[in-house]
Subunit: 345 residues, 2 copies
DNA sequence: CCCGCATCTGACAACGTTGTCCAGGCCCTA
DNA sequence: TAGGGCCTGGACAACGTTGTCAGATGCGGG
């Protein structure tokens, strides 16, 4: 009676295995393996018999077992902040394309900007024995990754550097981009320029702020306290921050926004504002050219970030490449009108 | 001499195994397993010893082996068209969140609207023994999935129905949405209304076209050949199609666009056009409210699509749920100005 | 003091695949 | 025709984990 219910546990719905195929085709187990993997040394006739058995049973190789045996999973992990952010979509897609070119699948995870969740995700991916990791870090301490990297998990950080460990990283030139964007406003006659950015604990935000400060300093403009707003991220508070800068005794005549989400909110605020206010935003946004005025931005190529990182990852997996390296990609100032408005007041 | 190079093959960079931990802690293999999995029946003292060994060696359980043994991978696959499309980002994220709530990871793949690539991806995911699949189909024949589904891979289709097989599917009300959008234009006095959509072999495109035709018919307006443009998708050709409709002896006074990409291109064309032309687009687009005029759209909630599909998937995995079912989510008409323009000329 | 019971521990097989290695059959040549 | 090499096929172990089961240990009660 135990016979009838031999496989009572919830195993893959009783899928056929190579053993089953072998039995049906009347050949040995290894012969099936050879056919499945296209290895040489099988007579056309035998191969046909095996193939028929495979089709008849609907056999599909169990890659879990294969992975266990071979030690490589042909999959890489990507941990980012939020897949639904238009900045990360193209990045993710680019990583996927590179992975695909190397025959690997992509496992995706969103950290939601939470360091604990990032770590949880990364370690789960390591437990799956992904061959490599592309990480857009949320946290600033990645020592937990040291044993993993030592154990051979190729790891590349993107968009922001790793914290406390030495690892490959691919960045945009956040500092230079912001500096040039702000300098652009200054060149158009602005002196009272506001900056609204994310929390400075985020590397990109800090770098962009530094770019802002540097450009102002280079032009000999002292930055007033009220002109910078840091760490605001939700639309409500961005709105209030922008409105505060535009009111007061010495209102700003231009705003530099630290990322795409902030830019969008500020555009809304400016649309309701009476006086024209110049705007340059970090990150490009869709339809920016169709607004009145068009939105001038410092654009970074997120797909290129992803592609560069993924290629680096696979080169590391190939064994080429030695020491961790830092790659910085240039940004591009796209003038569309909003950044070229003269100071009003 | 073979001793020194015992593990020459490329195995996970010689990661420690439970056996190693057991040896170091001076306990049995199974005891380590118990500690790692938080199973009861281990003395605090023993547990501590094991935990120390784990930390010292940097041990991390190999989920590949675990999967092989347990039969469940705690991962699901998502196959969509293009992760970088703003429509799919939120969908993907929603699926991920549901998966996370069920302790599963998400493996992501882009089919690039290519049926062969879709099949290749899906089967690769099946070979990994994902527990379930969420598929936004590119092809229209999914019989290749039958053995997989029979073998227990829970499968839910989203956005478009499966071809040739009976399976769960979660859709937007493409027909009703398009019909209402076109009726909205008609209600504002338009009779010469153009339709620009994707290839009709894509289910959503066909349904939206049907909605257009139905609304026109209901209003007793015969549709002229020159008013509909199907299968154009790249911006160049969409542009030409729109321009053609706007020229000619009886130019359209309004256009209904079949998806977000088409809408964006048509907005550009209309921005350059002399006469105002009304526009309603299927799919919402970011910043649509800030354009002049605001863009009226038939919005679908892509995150909700993903969430619904994923929840269905996990209910199926739980064993609840019997027959495949078709769920249709409503769309929402958002009026912002472009759809309320009166006919010009 | 011994038995029974509860608690803790470990030996062993199995999951499905691939690498190694050897056996057998065939053909070719001397 | 015998011997050698080549080609094909299969037996077996191993990958790292978990489920089963039985052994060991300790403790309380009769």
């Amino acid at each position: 009676m135990a016979e009838t219910a031999r496989r009572t546990d919830n195993r893959y719905g009783n899928r056929p295995t190579m053993k089953d195929v072998a039995a049906r085709a009347g050949v040995g187990l290894k012969t099936v393996s050879r056919v499945v993997n296209g290895e040489p040394g099988v007579t056309p006739d035998t191969e046909r018999r095996v193939q028929e058995a495979i089709d008849a049973l609907g056999f599909r190789r169990n890659d879990s077992a294969r992975v266990l045996r071979k030690g490589r999973t042909a999959s890489i992990g990507l941990v980012l902040e939020d897949l639904s952010d238009p900045f990360y979509g193209p990045l993710s897609r680019a990583v996927e394309e590179v992975a695909r070119a190397h025959g690997a699948l992509l496992i995706n995870g969103s950290s939601a900007e939470d360091p604990d969740r990032e770590q949880e995700l990364v370690l789960a991916l390591c437990a799956r024995r992904v061959d490599g990791l592309v990480v857009i870090p949320a946290g600033d301490d990645h020592r937990y990754l040291e044993p993993e990297i030592k154990a051979g998990v190729a790891t590349v950080f993107v968009d922001r550097p790793a914290g406390q460990i030495d690892a490959d990283v691919v960045l945009s030139d956040n500092f230079g981009g912001a500096r040039d964007g702000v300098a652009h406003l200054i060149a158009h006659g602005h002196r009272r320029i506001g900056f609204i950015g994310d929390m400075p604990r985020i590397h990109t935000a800090a770098e962009r702020l530094r770019g802002y400060r540097t450009a102002m300093e280079a032009a000999g403009i002292p930055v007033e306290e009220a002109w910078t707003s840091l760490g605001v991220t939700d639309p409500q508070r961005v709105r209030r921050a922008a409105e505060a800068m535009l009111a007061g005794p010495s209102p700003v005549t231009a705003i530099f926004t630290g990322n795409n989400r902030v830019t969008v909110t500020v555009i809304r605020v400016l649309a309701e504002h009476s006086r024209p206010v110049a705007l340059v935003g970090f990150d490009d946004i869709e339809l920016a050219d169709l607004l009145q005025p068009g939105v001038t931005v410092v654009a970074q190529d997120s797909a290129q970030l992803g592609r560069t990182a993924a290629e680096r990852l696979f080169r590391r997996l190939d064994g080429t490449l030695a020491l961790p390296e830092r790659v910085e990609l240039p940004t591009r100032l796209i003038t569309r009108g909003s950044g070229e408005l003269p100071p009003a007041s």
